[in-house]
């Protein structure tokens, strides 16, 4: 167990360094200057531009910049955001909890929904229920994230104005609301983006879960349990679900990158002030330090997520626990 953990941690660290390196060089090898937008302000004098370049070390060779960058990142210093005019780390620290809230809620809901539907489908295999649910799951599975978000917005924010169009809180009234008013405010803003992300990832989970249950059904011990004359419900709960849920946990690790990618688009559409929106805005303003850092933090999140999934799996699966 400890060896497993150490191994995975090391692997995670390697991945993060790899991502950092790849993004850093790709971004800096591109023609044009990382500071372009800022430096091109018509108000700036050439002397001031030179000073800015020196401040950010842009007058140094690329290799030196890379070493400095990695060193700085290791110390937790992610650089300065030109578009937000504040440290990148501060901006990310503000955005990350919002993304985690959105993703946490969506993750919980989509696993609950996806597993329930998948099991239901598998139990009613080849009936109309199975086929209809399968088609619905495939429908959502085939959909671009941002398009579902746009359609949800069109439907529930414009045509039927039930939910706000975007943001996380009412920018004006929120500070003046009472405690419950604030909770309600956040929930009403959370509803649409969370719904969209939930539907999208639940579709994939349901498809996976259905297959997993069907796989287990074929196993001998289920047949044995049935043959012993156990009641169907007890077969399902005691033998089938327990074993069919196991692979779904690994899905947690796999679902995370997809969910994070989806969150980029959903946050963009609903102006949810999280990592995704931050990244997209950073792209629009060519804020390279912010783009690089967002990618790094996102892959750390993914690595951490799959680490958690691995540990969970090890805890649940007795075969791995003994190691």
């Amino acid at each position: 167990m400890r060896r497993l953990l150490a191994g995975r941690l090391l692997q995670g660290a390697v991945i993060v360094v790899l991502v950092t390196t790849i993004t850093f060089f790709l971004i800096h090898l591109v023609p044009g200057e990382p500071l372009a937008t800022t430096l091109d302000s018509p108000y700036l004098t050439e002397a001031y531009r030179a000073r800015l370049r020196a401040i950010y070390g842009l007058d140094r060779p690329l290799g030196e910049q890379y070493v400095r960058y990695v060193g700085a990142v290791a110390r937790g210093d992610l650089g300065w955001s030109f578009s937000l005019r504040r440290p990148v780390a501060d901006a990310l620290a503000d955005a990350l909890p919002n993304t985690l809230l959105l993703m946490g809620v969506s993750l919980a809901l989509s696993f609950a929904l996806g597993i329930a539907l998948g099991v239901l489908q598998a139990m009613r295999r080849d009936t109309a229920t199975d086929r209809v649910l399968g088609a619905v799951a495939l429908f959502f599975y085939s959909m671009p994230d941002f398009w579902l978000a746009l359609m949800a917005m069109l439907l529930f924010a414009y045509w039927l104005p039930i939910f706000p169009v975007g943001g996380m809180v009412d920018p004006v009234m929120h500070p003046y609301l009472g405690f419950w008013g604030r909770i309600g405010d956040v929930l009403s803003h959370l509803a649409l983006p969370a719904l969209v992300l939930t539907l999208l990832s639940a579709a994939g989970i349901a498809r996976y879960q259905r297959a997993a249950v069907l796989e287990v059904v074929r196993q001998d011990y289920v047949r044995t349990a049935r043959a012993k004359g156990l009641r169907e419900r007890s077969v399902v709960v005691r033998h089938l679900l327990r074993n069919a849920l196991l692979p779904t946990i690994t899905l947690l690790g796999l679902a995370l990158p997809a969910l994070l990618g989806g969150a980029v688009f959903v946050e963009r559409v609903f102006a949810w002030p999280g990592m995704g929106l931050l990244t997209v805005n950073a792209i629009a303003t060519r804020d390279y330090p912010l783009v690089t850092a967002s990618v790094i933090v996102a892959s750390i999140t993914v690595v951490a997520g799959s680490l958690v999934a691995d540990v969970l799996y090890a805890v649940v699966d007795p075969r791995l626990r003994r190691r």
Binding site: L160, I162, N281
Partner: protein
């Protein structure tokens, strides 16, 4: 589409929430203002402010907010006259006197003027402000605009004398319009080189009619009324800027009544707003125009451009473009076709100048006669083997100009000219434009109210480093006329010179004058805007009103300060005015 109207009447989730909010506020109306003062104005903008310190801001939002927090010595008149002090009204200076030789002006500070921390405004603050603006360590973008000011001298605690290096028509304008007065006692100890990181620039204390309340980066900036202000309290209680990442969301906030005012609408939204009875259109003048810069001489080195080096070709291409229809497409009936290197809001503008007509057949004939013919039948004309094809660089940051580019492409295709639109991110666009590395550029020009500004962009002196004459247009006639106009001390003389200058340049067609930005904003019906000035609709924000009988929930927040931190009880916020007096 029809089904949308009844549907909208469905009770939304937001409504009960708003009701909860009032209860939470406790309905304490003690400090809510009566009569025609009071109310909350929520302004929807697309970008956050950078700094709230006048010498530092480079964003429009930064300027909008700073202008409420800080005062100038005098305010320019609504006609934006820049010659002498005609039309200027007192602000921090209650009056002023010109010296006999006009080389200095003595400004008498209003004795009632106070900083928001309660300290009086003094002449020393004016001297300090000028020194800070021009300090190279501060690197203020506005420093070059103060070149004609020699120094500021303190005659007594309430009299500041501004000395000028030379006599110019716009010297009063320079001393007032370009400088907002800062508090010496709060900024004297700040390290000039790191002033951008100073806490003051994110929570400023000024002397304006609004005072700073809070700034949540990327989301909101909130100001409240300075109720004891020497120039009278604002007629609003509160002004809040709410930041959206893109124009669509910014407009949507107003359409959904989450915000009260948005400064620019697209035609699709204008149609929506005019259908609504809870919103109204707010057109206002501006000082920006857009034109297709036709580069006569790329890089300024490689000789005349094969297409745009020729005046007649430029004129023919201009005549091939239906600018009226393009403007109708992008701005509907509210747009204005460009009239030259000037906007209608500028004092010297002249709308009667003869423009090149839209005449596609004539354009085709002229192109034929110039030797531009489609010999190989591919739909694109050639001359001496060189196709009539060019690249049009366009900044992606401007949805209007992007749209104009797509329209222009098709317009010119009709006369056998091929346009390749190259969308560029704004920074790259500026870079290419400044280095004159383009065939044609979808340029936008923001003017300051000074008539001489046209010189920078279109005279021979503006070609090359430091200048902004990107097309390489060089006409001695035009240059001479602009110089005479800018030097004229009499406004009528100035107008005459400028009219002839504009006639010259329009006939030479160094650019296709597309449109003058005639912005149309949207406001909730209860908002009564005041004095929308061409150089900034926000100039008289403190005089905007919300009639008492039309107020909604957020207008009744009153003057209570916003809670300091998330989670803190709203009642914990100190009443706005206890910090003073």
């Amino acid at each position: 589409m029809d089904i949308r109207i009844p549907l909208r009447r469905l009770v939304s989730l937001a409504a009960p929430l708003a009701a909860v909010s009032l209860l939470a506020c406790g309905g304490d109306d003690r400090d809510a203002s009566a009569g025609d003062v009071g109310g909350t104005l929520v302004i929807s903008v697309t970008g956050d402010a950078d700094h709230l310190l006048p010498p530092l801001y480079e964003t429009i939002t930064g300027r909008q907010v700073s202008d409420q927090l800080f005062d100038r010595l005098a305010e320019i008149g609504d006609d934006l006259n820049t010659v002498g002090d005609e039309g200027f009204t007192p602000a921090l200076a209650e009056r002023w006197e010109w010296a006999e030789d006009s080389l200095s002006i003595a400004f008498h500070i209003d004795p009632d003027a106070r900083w928001h921390d309660g300290r009086p405004v003094r002449a020393g603050d004016v001297r300090f402000t000028h020194a800070l603006y021009v300090d190279p360590a501060v690197a203020s973008p506005f420093a070059p605009l103060l070149d004609d000011i020699d120094s500021v001298q303190v005659r007594d605690s309430l009299t500041a004398v501004v000395w000028f290096a030379r006599r110019t028509p716009q010297q009063f304008f320079d001393a007032t319009y370009q400088m907002s007065i800062l508090p010496e006692h709060l900024l004297a100890g700040v390290d000039r080189a790191n002033i951008r990181a100073a806490a003051f620039s994110r929570a400023p204390i000024g002397s304006g009619r609004f005072r700073f309340a809070r700034w949540t980066p990327g989301q909101t900036i909130e100001l409240v009324a300075d109720t004891a202000n020497y120039r009278d309290r604002p007629r609003l209680d509160r002004a809040i800027w709410t930041v959206s990442p893109d124009p669509v969301t910014a407009i949507t906030k107003v359409l959904r009544n989450e915000a009260d005012f948005v400064e620019i609408l697209r035609p699709e939204d204008q149609a929506e707003v005019s259908r609504r009875d809870d919103l109204k259109l707010v057109p206002y003048p501006a000082l920006q125009y857009a034109a297709v810069f036709l580069n006569a001489n790329v890089d300024g080195t490689s000789g005349p451009h094969p297409i745009f080096g020729d005046r007649e070709t430029r004129r023919a291409l201009t005549m091939a473009v239906d600018r009226e229809a393009m403007v109708r497409n992008v701005f509907d009936t509210l747009g204005l076709v460009g009239i030259g290197p000037v906007t209608r809001g500028v004092a010297t503008a002249d709308t009667t100048i003869e423009q090149l007509p839209f005449d596609r057949e004539r354009a085709a004939r002229v192109l034929d006669s110039l030797g531009w013919r489609d010999a190989n039948g591919d739909g694109v004309r050639e001359r001496a083997g060189r196709p009539l094809e060019f690249t049009l660089i366009t900044p992606t940051s401007s949805s209007f100009r992007m749209r104009m580019a797509v329209l222009l492409q098709e317009q010119l295709a009709q006369v056998g000219a091929k346009v390749n639109v190259e969308p560029l991110e704004f920074g790259t666009f500026i870079q290419r434009q400044n280095r004159r590395r383009f065939d044609a550029a979808m340029g936008g020009v923001g003017m300051d109210p000074l008539p001489g500004g046209v010189k920078q962009s279109w005279s021979a002196a503006g070609i090359g480093a430091g200048g902004s004459n990107y097309t390489g247009y060089a006409s001695p006639t035009f240059d001479a006329l602009v110089d005479s106009g800018a030097a004229a001390m009499d406004p009528d003389d100035a107008r005459r010179y400028f009219r002839r200058a504009y006639e010259t340049i329009v006939a030479d067609a160094p650019a296709i004058w597309l449109y003058e930005l005639r912005p149309v904003g949207a406001a909730h019906v209860r908002i009564q805007p005041a004095g929308l000035r061409a150089d900034g609709w926000w100039a008289h924000l403190a005089d905007w009103t919300i009639p008492a009988d039309q107020r909604i929930d957020r207008d009744r927040i009153g003057l209570r300060g916003a809670p300091v931190a998330e989670g803190a009880s709203p009642d914990a916020g100190a009443p706005a005015d206890t910090a003073r007096r």
